[in-house]
């Protein structure tokens, strides 16, 4: 007899009573949250994006070609992935070999070696990478053929020389992981180089502003964009990045402000350090955001004139294909790139190719491979989200670049093969008609029919026979 049964029997209760039922409302996660708050008086700050289950691209399926559609031969027939961004006003639009870009991530949150690896991989794959809060490093400019330079509320390290040597400018209004919130870089990652680039004392907790210092509101943004165009003699595309919240209205305002490209970042987007309450409770899923963004562009008759880049939890070629089918022109990937570099791996790779276990270092942080979200500590066991001189050596730029290039190549191949199966000679020809949804929620958010039906929640059905 088990101990609890013995206890129950001793107490006179029937032995089959369930005595270990967990409360749904006060499960171990919530108990831990309350007790952490009670012990520290602080909200939790962590890395990565939303961990909760959300309606996502996984909830969509492609119909593929059949009798009513004609597929392309998967290995032989051409399917273009060429992508052009910034055709509205810029004299020099960005031309990419694939619709897959590397999202903005800061030097500070990531080591300079990681930024170099990302730049090299993007260059080899024919795509772009993006700076982040904290400015442009020499390593990433040197290694990146096409580099998008972010203009963030903090303006850390922002300077006209880098504006002039960038290939495009991205004005960041918000980030999917924390719409309405500024950035954060805890003191352990503010080493002397990071501090100098951000004009701050080394070792302090650095808080980025949540609003731009020199403009407020959409009408000001019109003028800010005009200023950046004047500074660059109207040569470079201007992107505007928003965290997904009131996407329909925000996208319209971005168009009004004169953006060449709009980047919409859903709540699954990653971060190196943000309050958990932001990550899990502010913003809307990427799936819902794409639909609203496309609706806004169509409402203004601006699809194809202003390009849409979607980010936030995009991991696979299937995710990319679905985003494009819903109307995106390209995607941006951040967290996935870090995973490709070894984030949450059990080991890191020496320059000679030998793997070295990082499990003990995960344990020191109180976590394990597959569960780590400790980017904010600067003690990344695989040497990515760190400014520690010893830890950062765990990422060899050449090896990292190869892994990211392989990942990009795989994504692009998957994307093209899905497009061919849907009968498209160009991945940009994927369309909403190619999609169905697995759940009612996804059908409503994406605006596609529930699989096996013609039902799109929220859209009035035509009368039978019409």
């Amino acid at each position: 007899m088990a101990a609890h049964q013995a206890d129950a029997a001793a107490a006179g209760a029937p032995p089959h009573r369930l005595r270990t039922e967990e409360s749904w409302g006060y499960d171990r996660r919530n108990i831990d949250y309350i007790q952490h708050a009670a012990a520290t008086g602080l909200y939790e700050i962590r890395g990565m994006g939303a961990k909760r289950h959300l309606p996502h691209f996984d909830d969509l399926l492609f119909l593929g070609a059949s009798l009513s559609r004609y597929p392309l031969e998967g290995y032989r027939e051409r399917c273009s992935t060429r992508t052009i961004l910034g055709t509205r006003y810029a004299k020099r639009p960005i031309e990419l070999a694939m619709p897959i870009t590397i999202a903005g991530m800061s030097f500070g949150s990531l080591s300079a070696r990681v930024k170099e690896a990302l730049g090299r991989a993007a260059t080899e794959a024919g795509t772009s990478t993006t700076t982040g809060d904290g400015g442009m490093t020499e390593e990433e400019r040197r290694s990146s053929k096409t580099l998008v330079y972010q203009c963030l509320p903090s303006r850390y390290g922002f300077n006209p020389d880098d504006v002039r040597r960038a290939d495009a400018i991205e004005i960041v209004i918000g980030q999917g992981a924390k719409p309405g919130g500024g950035g954060m870089l805890l003191g352990q990652k503010v080493n002397p180089r990071v501090a100098a680039m951000r004009t701050l004392p080394a070792g302090i907790d650095q808080r980025s502003a949540c609003r731009h210092p020199d403009w407020t509101g959409p009408d000001d943004l019109v003028i800010k964009i005009q200023e950046l165009r004047e500074i660059t003699d109207w040569e470079k595309p201007i992107y505007v990045k928003i965290g997904a919240t009131r996407v329909f209205n925000d996208v319209k305002l971005c168009v009004h402000a004169g953006a060449d490209v709009i980047v919409v970042d859903g709540m699954q987007g990653g971060t190196a350090a943000t309050q958990t309450v932001f990550i899990e409770h502010i913003g809307i899923p990427t799936l819902a955001a794409v639909r609203q963004a496309v609706d806004a562009l169509e409402d203004l008759n601006m699809r194809g004139k202003v390009q849409l880049v979607v980010s936030g939890g995009i991991r696979s070629g299937a995710d990319i294909a679905k985003a494009l089918a819903m109307g995106a022109d390209a995607v941006a990937i951040g967290q996935g790139m870090l995973v490709a570099l070894g984030c949450n791996s059990e080991s890191w790779v020496r320059p000679d190719g030998r793997h070295v276990s990082a499990v003990a270092d995960y344990a020191t942080l109180g976590t394990a491979p597959g569960y780590c979200h400790h980017c904010h500590t600067g003690r990344c066991p695989v040497g990515l989200t760190t400014q520690d001189a010893a830890l950062e050596l765990r990422l060899e730029p050449a090896i990292g670049a190869r892994r990211v290039r392989n990942y990009l190549k795989t994504l692009n191949m998957e994307l093209a093969t899905v497009a061919r199966a849907c009968g498209k000679q160009d991945v940009h020809h994927l369309e909403k008609e190619d999609l169905v949804a697995l759940t009612v929620e996804a059908a409503a958010m994406a605006g596609v029919p529930l699989a096996g039906t013609s039902w799109i929640p929220g859209v009035a059905r035509r009368p039978e026979g019409d």
């Binding site: 300077n159 907790d205 020199d214 000001d220 003699d233």
Partner: protein, 240 residues
């Protein structure tokens, strides 16, 4: 596109643009590219009529004088150039300046000198809200008063205010220092008055001289960060 009508000013190496007839884009492109090629060092701009982004993105030791009122982002991201406005300036004057000197003879609107990394911005009249916000090493001298929330999150650099300041002056300051001659309606979080040192008096004297103001440095008080927000801790009471 407006017709480009420029004419040489009296000096051999100077040029004059009338924004009533010339597109701003042409003027800025001249300042960015052609001025150096043509050996022009002095440029006069007439009839700005509230135009935005006048003389922004300069990257050479040019003397630019603007006769009239300008809109947003006068001399934005300026480097090396000396820009003078004989009038008032709209929001974001000399925003993100790296070096050089920008002088506004009249008043300046919100966010003057925002995130300036270097150089000096002189405002002879008053400056509005958020003057010197996110300052990153530049200097600002205001002949009159500044509005509320000035020097918010200012990281480095110096701000001299010859008049008064509104509410929340120096909120969440980092290493920037404010010198004020008049009254302060209220200080922001983590900002505090500190004693003036000889070094402070010398700094104020230097900046007043640059600006051409004749106040005595001893009339100014110093405001700097108490640095209690530098580290995230339980006592911060969720200030951030």
């Amino acid at each position: 596109m407006a017709r480009v009508t420029t004419k040489p000013a009296s000096a051999g190496n100077s040029r004059e643009f009338d924004l009533a007839n010339v597109a701003l884009r042409e003027v800025n492109r001249f300042l960015h590219q052609d001025a150096a090629n043509e050996g022009v060092a002095q440029v006069r701009v007439l009839n700005p009529d509230g135009a935005h982004s006048v003389a922004c993105g300069l990257n050479a030791e040019l003397e630019v004088e603007v006769d009239g009122n300008v809109g947003y982002y006068l001399a934005g991201m300026n480097k090396l150039a000396r820009v003078t406005v004989n009038g008032n300036a709209g929001p974001g004057a000399a925003e993100n300046m790296m070096s050089g000197l920008v002088r506004v003879r009249g008043y300046a609107s919100t966010g003057a000198g925002a995130s300036a990394h270097g150089g000096c911005l002189v405002i002879e009249g008053d400056a509005s809200l958020r003057c010197g916000i996110s300052l990153k090493g530049g200097d600002i001298v205001v002949g009159g008063s500044v509005g509320s929330f000035s020097a918010f999150m200012a990281q480095a650099g110096r701000i001299v205010i010859c008049g008064d300041a509104g509410d929340a002056l120096g909120d969440s300051l980092y290493e920037a220092v404010i010198y004020i001659r008049g009254d302060v309606r209220s200080l922001g979080a983590d900002a505090r008055f500190e004693p003036m040192t000889d070094q402070d008096l010398a700094a104020v004297k230097e900046l007043l001289t640059t600006a051409g103001f004749k106040h005595a440095p001893g009339e100014f008080r110093r405001i700097a960060s108490a640095k209690s927000l530098y580290h995230w801790n339980a006592d911060a009471n969720q200030e951030y």
